[in-house]
Amino acid sequence: MIKDSSPSCGTVRSNAEPVPRPPWPRAIRRQWWIARLCFPAFGLFFHFLLSVVAAYRIADLKRFRKEVACLVDGHDGPVIISANHLTMIDSLVIMWALFPFSSYLRDFRRLPWNMPEARNFARNLWLRTMCYLGKCVYVTRGGALASRRATVETFKSLLSQGEWILIFPEGGRSRTGMVDPEVATYTVGELFLATPNARLLCVYARGEAQKTWGALPKRGDVFHLYATLVAAPEALALGTGRRAAREVAQTITSTLVALEQKWFHNPARQERSQPPRLPHLGGLDDALGQPPGQT
């Protein structure tokens, strides 16, 4: 069942009691506190990177934040954010858009935990530091089942503590440039079913100049985002096993496909091959996916 993001919002299983789980692993709790202490500087640094250096913009940001607020305000429990995946900084853009900086200072649980691929994001000290401070727990796609299971159990513990998580049901960046239900993973379903008091928030985010998958959005790109809650009652009727997890995952990808259609049919979106003209920033343009000399 795909739930439309109407102002009435509705309730989505949020009255359920949380499932008691073992306390957080000590290392994760320590990471949370260090990230929380560093967040004022860290958050501002990334805000500067995204808004000034990369010159990204979120179109209709007020509308999007009002939509999200309607969907999650009053809910004191965990939220599982499921999003499409096109670039290596989708999580950053989504977190930047979801709430103002002050909101994360007031309730740090809202800054979602992420599950980045170790091969991409643990390559050097800088990336490892940013991921540590950004509430990331690495996963190795195609890695040992036991290792994957340990990561999933960690995320179940986080959710049981009321933390938010952000997960990409497609696993990796979409090689087709569109949401691809064929490659959907079921982890998000497993996490949702293990957390009766969680809300499931689907978010679609894409820059106007993002034709397909890539490393970074082009400098100056303008992002349009959409969000809606997913109820998945058919999946809940199947219990909590892998069949139900698959049903939840398929419902999520269907919802993302519907949001993607909304993105493509948005009359306010400008069809671009390149973002708006911006001052040239030398080598930084290369790093941000824009050829040097492009103005």
Partner: protein, 83 residues
């Protein structure tokens, strides 16, 4: 069900999800489902669900985690669905 028909049924199910058609031509009881046939972990869940549907059994997470080779799957299914 004896081993050979069970083996053929298991291979038939797995072949729908294997990314390496060449490897499928040389399967044996020792063939690794994830490594040799390149079935990813999500599609492996589909494989297990198809086993359950085909043989009308329920496979626990613990049993599913122990399936590495085609032989493991055959032996498990023979235990759960002996007829």
């Amino acid at each position: 069900m004896t081993e050979q028909p069970m083996f053929e049924a298991v291979v038939s199910i797995i072949s729908r999800y294997a990314k390496d058609p060449e490897a499928m031509k040389q399967v044996s009881m020792n063939t690794s489902i994830l490594r040799d046939l390149k079935v990813n972990s999500t599609r492996f869940v589909d494989v297990v669900l198809d086993f359950e549907d085909k043989f009308k059994v329920e496979i626990s997470d613990d049993d599913a985690d122990k399936i590495e080779t085609i032989g493991d799957a055959v032996q498990l299914l023979q235990r759960l669905a002996p007829h």
